[in-house]
């Protein structure tokens, strides 16, 4: 068994443990490359059955258009239930990424996620986070316990040994489960290639209209993006290394339009993938941990 086989086996084992032990699991599906790999692994883990849990997409209403069409197409092809959840209250208040900064992420993502988990009574939620992404993620267990307020307590994590996961919880508590904990960005792309996994076309370089803003190339995905004085969209050959809300996700100039080219680019990347996220920088070096403590994925 090679390296990818071992990673695959570990993830499948985790999926099956959750399905066997947890009452109401759900898979957080963010439509990105990690979610695509996670979904593929889930399909493999349970075949010939379908995965015994639904997918949940927290929609901030600011996702790239191509993400939503990809989501709907995949759900149809696979015959899998995708629950879309939008924080309607936030929507009514007009919360948006331009005027509300960190509050936007909190209300439209973190609060929305907590509301959805509570509404449907999910007891375990798979997330596609990887430990190589960011230094507070690097500290998190594969089975990450959340109290009734869905908060993470990094100082008292449940110890985890071998393949033995403690899934005991009381009503209201839940577990976030990260089957891709030990994968790296490069592993993800090599696996996408090996298994021929469909991903959103935004990952591949192509001429796209963008504006340069605070050091990021922001896609003009629809007419809701308010242009600042002096900003005019220009066409650049751009790809996205991560996907999220389009006003908060920077693209990079690239010619990588195949999976092979992306693998080569990833292997020699000078910066980490999270540099393309505008939101990670709000609140300094510990911002991710703060959000996670409050219930963010």
């Amino acid at each position: 068994m090679n390296h990818l086989d071992k990673l695959e086996a570990e993830s499948i084992y985790i999926f099956r443990e959750v399905a066997a032990e947890c009452e109401a699991p759900v898979m957080l599906y963010s439509i990105g490359k990690d979610s695509s790999v996670m979904l593929h692994l889930a399909l493999k883990a349970f075949y010939p059955e379908k995965p015994p849990f639904p997918l949940l997409h927290i929609n901030t209403t600011w996702k790239f258009k191509e993400m939503i069409s990809f989501r709907d197409r995949r759900a149809k092809e696979l015959g899998i239930k995708v629950i879309e959840y939008i924080n309607e209250d936030g929507l009514r208040q007009g919360i948006n990424p331009f005027d509300h900064g960190a509050a936007y992420t909190d209300i439209m993502k973190t609060q929305a996620l907590k509301q959805a988990i509570e509404k449907y009574g999910f007891t375990a939620a798979f997330g596609g986070a990887r430990r190589d992404e960011e230094k507070s993620r690097a500290k998190e267990r594969i089975f990450s316990f959340r109290n009734a307020a869905q908060a993470w307590d990094p100082k008292h994590q449940r110890p985890e040994f071998w393949k033995l996961y403690n899934t005991e919880i009381y009503k209201g508590e839940s577990i976030r489960v990260f089957p891709l904990s030990n994968w790296t960005e490069l592993d993800i792309w090599q696996y996408i290639k090996r298994e021929n996994i469909p991903v959103v076309p935004l990952y591949f370089a192509k001429p796209r209209p963008v504006v340069e803003r605070d050091g990021h190339l922001i896609l003009v995905d629809d007419d809701r993006l308010p242009l600042r004085p002096g900003e005019t969209p220009t066409i650049k050959n751009v790809r996205f290394r991560t996907l999220g809300c389009y006003p908060l996700t920077g693209g990079e100039e690239s010619t990588a339009d195949t999976v092979d080219a992306i693998i080569a680019e990833t292997a020699s990347a000078a910066n980490s993938e999270r540099t393309s996220r505008v939101i990670d920088k709000d609140g300094g070096s510990a911002s991710m941990e703060k959000r996670k403590r409050e219930g963010y994925f």
């Binding site: 068994m1 090679n2 390296h3 990818l4 086989d5 071992k6 695959e8 086996a9 499948i12 084992y13 099956r16 443990e17 399905a19 066997a20 032990e21 399909l43 493999k44 883990a45 349970f46 075949y47 010939p48 059955e49 430990r131 190589d132 960011e134 230094k135 507070s136 690097a138 500290k139 267990r141 990094p154 100082k155 994590q157 449940r158 110890p159 985890e160 040994f161 071998w162 393949k163 033995l164 403690n166 005991e168 919880i169 009381y170 904990s181 030990n182 790296t184 990347a269 000078a270 910066n271 980490s272 999270r274 540099t275 070096s285 510990a286 941990e289 703060k290």
Partner: protein, 612 residues
């Protein structure tokens, strides 16, 4: 594809673990530009001189940065031209030993750091022993901070012989390297400051050390994680091959039932396979219908053990100490079974590496214990296979992971025994007797009225046509338990035998009344876990003064004169039940009323009617 090495860095606090890893990543140019910029910025804020603090690359939690220590394991990923690595950076403080152990269970190799000026610290020994106990066979001792001892070869040589002494008794390989993580000596490249050292630099060694040897020929074993029922026409058994390999057409055995079947199909994902190797996640189909559920084990290994009694080395993790007789949830492979720790065989003093005796085990201590499981557990010994011989214990109320354990042996008595299913079980016998088998356990001080009440209740049940038996502890001590004295261990054993006897009688369909002082909560808890749901605890709460004034057997007078030692209520505590099923105070109420109370609490109308 490059080979992967998972390793752990550990050692005492401040010996420079996080700095070492940070240094490897930095020197080998394995960090991204944005991370390097963040490191430079953070270092400016946190150090006086602006000198790079490499530990900031790893200590990712706010509390860690605030306190300048490592609290939990950090996993870092890097890859050189020769190999891919995942490093688990462990905390050095004793308080966080459990987090260090999490890393040890993950790793194939451990890098243990020492401060050249301080030498082997208690935590150095502790970490080495935990790693060795958890099956790590490759060690690197990095004698760090050599710059602070002027790169002195004598100091290094002296420490090396102490390290050899420490590792002598273990079947492991240990390499010793003098380093300075801060200055970069022997971290990624050989140091010019230590020309007397001719071995490899740390990273060079990690890139070339032969990783895990292929496991020797072993037989197929796969615990069933879940049963897959696609459309009701077939059932597939999903799990990961933990040992050996399996081919379509081969016979397998199912444990614990010992039924046999032939493999007809193997799926890996959606692909049909002729054979599956160790480590593969598969779905296996069999040629006939057998009762198989999660936790069952499919195997070709005749030596796999199926026993309800085992011995394991436990590393205690919980803030609450280990409790003998308390029921924990034991998880091993895909099994989750209630289990009771019945005995602490010995404790391991990690600093001197000696076995000591003891009756309590606290957080971060190691003890070898005897464990009884409610139903037979299928396992292998830990040294043969960590996935089949490792276990965790979970607190049933607080849900904490209390301990991790390595199964070392199983008690010889049950080695060749298996539980024979008999055709007639308890419920048939109960039906035949028209009664529900149960055990009413009377606990309370000597003279509180236990035996009197048990006796009266039994007579009453007898008149209602019930089949009963009264076990009076004093009487049982004259026969079955005549070899037992009054030490703590003997008192526990006395209760255990009473409970096992009561359970056997319950199995025979009988209503059993046990009258025993049973002063210790842990012992009564053990009795409850042996007897199960048929157990009912009745606390005869008669005040001590009343008991002393009754003193039917004259024992209180003797105890008060000091002629009897360790007498409950006098010079040994009686621990009242916290949640008894019934409390009876005999001071004010007469025996008949008490019997009525008992009947109401535990028996249906049938038992209350006296047959004529």
């Amino acid at each position: 594809m490059k080979e992967l090495l998972k390793f752990l860095t550990c050692g005492s606090v401040d010996d420079g673990k996080s700095t070492l890893i940070g240094r490897i990543l930095y020197d080998a140019k394995l960090i991204f530009a944005d991370q390097e910029n963040a490191l430079i910025m953070d270092s400016r804020v946190r150090t006086q001189t602006g000198e790079l603090d490499y530990s900031l690359l790893l200590d990712g939690l706010m509390a860690e940065r605030e306190q300048g220590i490592t609290i939990d394991i950090a996993y870092r990923f890097f890859s050189t031209e020769k190999r891919s690595f995942i490093v688990a950076d462990a905390p050095g403080h004793e308080e966080y030993t459990r987090n260090m152990a999490v890393g040890a269970s993950f790793a194939d190799l451990a890098v243990i750091l020492l401060d050249a000026a301080h030498g082997i610290m208690p935590q150095t020994r502790r970490h080495f022993h935990i790693c060795a106990m958890m099956g790590i066979r490759h060690f690197v001792f990095a004698v760090n901070k050599m710059d602070l001892v002027d790169y002195d070869a004598d100091i290094f040589n002296e420490l090396s012989s102490e390290i050899r002494e420490l590792t002598r008794d273990y079947p492991s390989e240990a390499v010793i390297i003098p380093t300075s993580a801060k200055k970069g000596d022997n971290v990624t490249v050989p140091s010019a400051s230590m020309p007397w050292y001719h071995g490899p630099a740390l990273l060079q060694y990690l890139e070339t050390v032969p990783t895990i040897q292929q496991p020797k020929a072993e037989s197929f074993t796969m615990p069933v994680q879940r049963v897959c029922r696609s459309d009701g026409t077939f059932r597939g058994f999903q799990g990961e091959v933990f040992a050996g390999s399996i081919c379509v057409g081969e016979r397998i055995r199912v444990l614990p039932s010992k039924e046999e079947a032939t493999v007809t199909r193997i799926l890996c994902g959606a692909a049909d396979m002729q054979t599956a190797e160790r480590g593969s996640p598969v779905t296996i189909f069999l040629d006939r219908e057998i009762d198989i559920s999660r936790g069952c084990v499919l195997t070709q290994n005749d030596r796999l053990i199926c026993s309800a009694v085992l011995q394991a080395e436990l590393l205690w993790l919980d803030d609450e100490p280990l409790e003998i007789g308390r029921s924990y949830l034991l998880k091993a492979a895909a099994q989750k079974i209630p289990a009771v720790i019945t005995k602490i065989k010995y404790k391991l003093d990690i600093e001197s590496n000696t076995k000591t005796s003891g009756d309590s085990v606290h957080k971060n201590e190691i003890a070898c214990c005897e464990i009884y499981t409610d139903t037979a557990l299928v396992f292998d010994l830990f040294q043969n296979n960590r996935n089949l011989g490792g276990l965790i214990l979970i607190d049933r109320v607080r849900h904490t992971t209390c301990a991790c354990g390595m199964i070392r042996s199983h008690t010889s008595v049950s080695q060749n025994l298996s539980f024979h299913k008999t055709d007639l079980n308890r419920s048939f016998r109960e039906q035949n007797l028209s009664q529900k088998a149960q055990t009413i356990w009377f606990t309370g001080l000597s003279g509180s009225g236990k035996s009197t009440l048990a006796n009266a209740l039994e007579k009453r049940l007898f008149l209602s046509g019930k089949a009963t038996m009264l076990l009076d502890a004093d009487n049982v001590r004259m026969g079955l338990n005549r070899d037992l004295g009054f030490t703590k261990e003997d008192r526990s054993e006395n209760i255990r035998r009473l409970a096992e006897t009561a359970k056997l009688m319950n199995d025979a369909g009988l209503i059993v009344l046990v009258s025993a002082i049973s002063p210790r909560r842990v012992d009564r808890r053990m009795a409850r876990s042996i007897i199960g749901s048929a157990f009912h605890e009745v606390y005869i709460n008669t005040p001590l003064e009343t008991c002393i004034s009754r003193d039917v057997k004259g024992l209180y007078q003797k105890a008060l004169r000091g002629e009897i030692r360790q007498f409950s209520g006098i010079d040994m505590a009686y621990e009242p039940p916290e949640h008894p099923d019934l409390i009876i105070d005999t001071t004010e109420v007469d025996v008949d009323k008490c019997v009525q109370q008992l009947l109401r609490a535990f028996f249906d109308d049938d038992a209350k009617t006296v047959r004529t």
